[in-house]
């Protein structure tokens, strides 16, 4: 055997290099493992009620609002700031949007609910308000040098109550039907469109993996082994198809179908069934997740966010305008709060003054459980979404098991601290290895 034969390498080293070769994100694997564990345990404890299409559908829909905001919170925490006002901004945007569609538009322009322009003007107004509040926060932090903790603690008290004055504290509803399509159960793609969505998503995933590979080869870098790439594509495709299949398997109740047919002046055929399909709100979350990931990884803005988080002085000395960057990040956070407000208020079918209460804590917890480091510079969008999903699974699972509310909070709080502890241990390990 030749001396250079690689079979002589110790097995530990081969294993490590295999992991390297596959470029597997061990942190992501850990989070997925934790999520699967949570699901399986709850499924056993609830005699199989946890992993039904119905519950998975509900769980996903409940996660969307917090998950959307968590993607923005990643950027905030990565740059070593915090935003305690996201729940309040959500409430303020929700109030403005509720008033816009039920009062301002009908009174000023004569556009009533169900007018085709109403939902879109409403959402645009909400986005502007959310982004403006966020930018104002960012300006106070970036240009006036007030710590984000204080600015947003103030905002936490201010913005929800500004919303209160908009609506005089009243619950506003019903909302525009198209607007409410963003809520979840009232707006789904249906079985056919969902399958088309699945096909497109699978095609896009494979194409992206292929492009990345080609790009590497064209720059003389060694790509992953082909079998690994193909397995990854297969796994992701299976996940997409599996998810859509579950969403399609959740069937619309017969009574509701009957009413739908009645509304069209038809009679429902005997034994007819139809699945909900992918909720539009989930579709929105996926679109936001993709956009935020592209911003994080592929744009200058994202690069500057991470550089500033890693070393603010270095960023400054490299000519990055870190003050303006702060305004942009908080502005983006505000806009995402407004989008969450669309989802949250349409899910509840009305605006209430306490909408989004405690969301700031859920959002921060989701980002942190998802591996965003409060010391800055580290965090991922998919991590935050997984974090939101894990939090929501814990909450719904315990509710399903009939755990008392106080104990639920104790568990969620303990899990948050435990997750961060695990993360710190993991980083220490990695630090030692390198």
């Amino acid at each position: 055997m030749a001396a250079s034969e690689p079979s002589a390498t110790p097995s530990a080293q081969t294993k490590r290099s295999l992991l390297d070769q596959l470029e597997l994100d061990t942190r992501l694997l850990g989070m997925i493992g934790a999520f699967v564990l949570v699901c399986v345990v709850f499924n056993i404890m609830t005699d199989g009620r946890f992993l039904t299409p119905r519950n998975i559908f509900t769980l996903t829909v409940q996660t969307v609002s917090v998950a959307i905001m968590a993607t923005g919170m990643v950027f905030i925490i990565v740059t070593r700031h915090i935003d305690l006002s996201v729940g309040a901004i959500l409430a303020a945007s929700s109030a403005v949007m509720a008033m816009t569609q039920t009062q301002y538009l009908p009174n000023a322009l004569g556009l009533g609910l169900e007018h085709p322009l109403t939902p879109w003007i409403t959402i645009a107004v909400g986005l502007v308000v959310g982004a403006a509040i966020g930018c104002f926060n960012g300006w106070l932090v970036g240009y006036q040098g007030i710590p984000a903790f204080i600015v947003t603690l103030g905002g936490f008290l201010v913005w929800r109550n500004v919303g209160w004055y908009q609506t005089s504290g009243q619950t506003i509803g019903p909302l525009d039907p198209t607007f409410m399509a963003f809520g979840g159960i009232n707006g789904t793609l249906g079985v056919g469109l969902s399958w088309i969505f699945a096909a497109l998503a699978v095609a896009a995933t494979c194409w992206l993996l292929f492009q990345a590979r080609r790009n590497k080869v064209s720059h003389d870098m060694t790509p992953k082994p082909l079998w690994a790439e193909v397995s990854l594509a297969g796994l992701l495709s299976a996940l997409i198809i599996g998810f859509v299949w579950i969403m399609n398997s959740y069937e619309i109740p017969t009574r509701r179908l009957e009413r739908l047919f009645e509304a069209r002046g038809e009679i429902m055929p005997e034994g007819y069934t139809e699945g909900y399909g992918v909720p539009i709100s989930v579709f929105l979350l996926i679109a936001i997740a993709i956009a935020m990931t592209v911003i994080a990884r592929k744009t200058r803005l994202g690069r500057y966010i991470f550089a500033t988080g890693g070393n603010p002085d270095a960023a400054e000395l490299s000519g990055i305008n870190t003050r303006l960057l702060t305004v942009k990040i908080f502005g983006l956070m505000g806009a995402l709060c407004a989008l969450s407000a669309v989802v949250a208020s349409s899910r509840l079918a009305n605006h209430t003054n306490d909408i989004g209460t405690l969301d700031e804590l859920r959002v921060i917890a989701a980002a942190v459980i998802g591996g965003t480091a409060l010391s800055g510079g580290i965090g991922t969008i998919y991590g935050a979404i997984l974090g939101a999903l894990i939090m929501q699974s814990l909450a719904s699972g315990m509710a399903m098991m009939g755990v008392d509310a106080p104990l639920q909070n104790i568990v969620v709080g303990a899990v948050l601290v435990f997750a961060v502890w695990i993360d710190i241990q993991y980083r220490k390990r990695m630090g030692e290895k390198i």
């Binding site: 870098m221 744009t299 690069r303 550089a307 400054e316 000395l317 390198i434």
Partner: protein, 250 residues
């Protein structure tokens, strides 16, 4: 003779009550290395940070190629082709070498997205020239040794065709071999016609590398000498006593 590449005239800056730099004047020609010496706290870093745009001077004037220059930010300094290797390195530890090298000046694709593959390829090229041992291109720079981190900082200054290069204690964290590499690089860049400000505590090294050396103490300029006109002892006495050779104590 043409105007100096850089003229610093009567530069002053104070932090609170501390006059960190007090009416200091200094110039630099193309193809010249000027060394700055002095105790810790003498004001060397502060002076060069004014030129690199990190600090704004209270009074004084900067001229570049004979023309008055306005440098209010690191961005402005880059417009004058001033590149700086800071004493504290100024790297974002969580990013890899390529992201650090191109920070603030990312290469982009036609779509306006950052072109990581292209930046990595460029980084690979320049690293092959500066530090052939450099391999960890895909790891955050926190995983690199002091010398490798230094190469990233140097690569950043060299890659963008600096005309004026500022090096604040570039060899402080380096071993003998790496220090030698930096010395060779300085000679090479000098031949290419760059003007270099070099800060170091190693007097002997400075006398080898520099054409002129300036000594600062308590924010003031003690004097600037051609290296062939002075001995190491002369320089040391300037640093310690704060007076030029042959000059009587004030």
């Amino acid at each position: 003779m043409s105007a100096p590449l850089v003229e610093l005239k009567d530069i002053s800056i104070a932090f609170g009550g501390v006059r960190a730099v007090d009416r200091v004047s200094l110039d630099l020609h193309a193809g010249e290395v000027v060394g700055l010496l002095g105790h810790n706290g003498a004001g060397k870093s502060t002076l060069i940070k004014i030129l690199s745009g990190a600090y704004q001077m209270d009074s004084g004037e900067i001229r570049i190629n004979g023309e008055k220059a306005t440098i209010n930010s690191p961005r402005d300094a880059r417009r004058y082709n001033i590149e700086t290797i800071y004493q504290t390195l100024a790297l974002a530890d969580n990013l890899d070498a390529a992201s650090n090298l191109f920070l603030g000046r990312e290469l982009t694709t036609r779509l306006g997205l950052v072109d990581d593959a292209q930046m990595e390829a460029e980084t690979r090229k320049i690293m092959a020239r500066l530090n052939p041992n450099f391999k960890k291109l895909n790891e955050p720079v926190s995983a690199l040794s002091g010398g490798q981190r230094q190469s990233v900082a140097i690569a950043r200054a060299v890659y963008f065709n600096a005309k004026i290069l500022i090096m604040d204690e570039p060899t402080a964290a380096l071993g003998v071999h790496e220090t030698q590499m930096v010395a060779e690089l300085i000679q090479e860049l000098k031949k290419q016609g760059l003007g270099i400000f070099l800060i170091s505590h190693d007097t002997r090294e400075m006398l080898e590398l520099c054409d002129r050396v300036s000594v600062m103490k308590n924010g003031q300029m003690i004097g600037t000498e051609r290296v062939e006109d002075v001995t190491e002892d002369d320089i040391l006495s300037m640093i310690i006593l704060g007076r030029k050779p042959g000059e009587e104590a004030a």
